[in-house]
Amino acid sequence: MSNATVAALPASKATVNDQIKYRSQAVAKPYFVAAIGLFIGQILFGLIIGLQYFKGDFLFPAIPFGTARMVHTNLLIVWLLFGFMGAGYFLIPEECERELYSPKLAIITFWVFLVAGALTIVGYLGLPYNVLAHLTGNDLLPTMGRGYLEQPLITKVGIVLVALSFLFNLSMTLLSGRKTSISIVMMLGLWGLAIFFLFSFVNPNNLVLDKYFWWWVVHLWVEGVWELIMGAMLAFVLVKVTGVDREIIEKWLYLIIAMTLITGIIGTGHHYFWIGTPGYWQLLGSVFSALEPVPFFMMTVFAFNMVKRRRREHPNQAATLWALGTGVMSFLGAGVWGFLGTLSVVNYYTHGTQLTAAHGHMAFYGAYAMVVLTMISYTMPLLRGREANSAAAQKLEKTAFWVMTLAIVGITLSLTAAAVTQVSLQRLSASPLPFMETQQHIMPMYWARFGFGLCFFTGLMMYVTSFFVTGKRES
């Protein structure tokens, strides 16, 4: 463990990094590196399942679709969590104007989380799922086998412990430091994340209630507390790269997240249309979730406004690009594509089709992947001892931004076309086709989606390469 501590803290190196204000912020670095590593893994498994959609027996029976998908979605969650945690360890000391309460605890937490995550993935791939469930105590408290929450019980408990250690560390830092709106919103979001994760331990036998509280994790995460984290991270980067008065950025932050929760909390109802819950959710879910695009739109306008009114030209232009991209893509993915299927009269036909997949891909990338990449783009140069990367590195990073973003647009459009076909043949038609027969008609769209997936992977590789590009920084 001491090796790790030494590796993560540049203080022991010959030169002291003068780009970061507090030495302990350096613990963010391994978190970001791990996040990018897991991101690559997520995309690789995404390519596998993308391929299996049209070449059904690919890698069967070694890696069946269900297993590969589970790895794809779980890696997504875990790398985003690594990103959030890295962001927390960087952002909170800077905002609080003091060193982290315990850098050592942060490094221990990092290794525990990484090893536990890796073991879980190995378990998914190396063992039949029911054997894994049996070995890890699922018989004591059955929690596995539900989307995104497939982790074994011991992993779930581990996640809670890691989250507690992380939150303890940051909260102690915050309590004795300067309290800014950005840091408070960040902490509220992170605490909310941990609290709502506790509902992953709730798994009633009654399928309706099971599904009802499953959404308390999934929806209240991505359309609730995660948006606080996202807003805080975006606001932090905007304060830094635009030099706009913190007071202005913070009041907009409060207003945007207020709108998010006002619409998003009861907006959970858009998942309660058909799962055995009373009919009034069709009314409440439609009304409130119809307004969920509003805060995303405000966030886009906000980001562009702040950049337009910037008071300095920050040399890290790539970070600014990522910040603006987050605004636009989260509005498109979460706002527009979310709205497409959110009204109960439409959702009746689109529920459980590829439209959900289309929305999910663009929203997760546009909101959460991009905000973490924004944070990484801003902080990694600092953590590596320079204000910004060289012009050549930034150029490559910006190209990677466009390749990945356009690829996700391509994936979303392919899946939307797939959804239109699926809904018309399987749901709307007077003589509806069976599921598998409908799938045959969608094959070209799945080919296209896989092609865009390869583009995305190319973009990701360019992004990773940009970290190794050296060159002189333009003055």
Partner: protein, 141 residues
């Protein structure tokens, strides 16, 4: 134009609004939890169905299938498969997997015994009895 826009008001609206709407959501949750049994009066959650739910979960069925529209979109909807195909078909299907037809999507062989298959069928019967407000639009799911 004169207008004030203060951080403290924005903050108060955030805290007040969030608490306000979360309390409403809690109230609705209480109402829903109480209404679920009568809304789903036809759904028989038998012991076999409870055991079947565990089989459904520990075989990661939702990794490929949807159940009442939730899960993965790789394989057919199973919330109403009991009605669409019937119990014997389901059991026969589970035993016949995988088809090993080249290029086609493959479902693993889970090696369930007869009692487990009965439990799984009981669970799928239960799920088909849930009052989904008439979803899906047709039997194909």
């Amino acid at each position: 134009m004169s207008a004030s826009f203060t951080k403290s008001t924005a903050r108060n609206i955030f805290y007040g609004g969030s608490v306000f709407f979360f309390l409403i959501f809690l109230g609705l949750t209480v109402d829903t939890t109480m209404a679920v049994p009568s809304h789903n009066a036809k759904a028989q959650l038998t012991d076999a169905a409870v055991r079947g739910k565990k089989i459904w979960e520990t075989r990661n069925c939702a990794g490929c299938h949807t159940l009442i529209g939730e899960g993965a979109f790789f394989a057919p909807e199973l919330g109403n498969v009991y009605v669409r195909r019937g119990p014997e078909f389901i059991k026969g299907w589970m035993k016949a997997m995988p088809t090993n037809v080249p290029g086609r999507r493959q479902m693993p062989q889970f090696n369930l015994n007869d009692a487990q298959l009965d439990d799984l069928v009981a669970f799928l019967k239960y799920s088909s009895q849930i009052n989904t407000n008439n979803w899906p639009p047709n039997i194909e799911g």
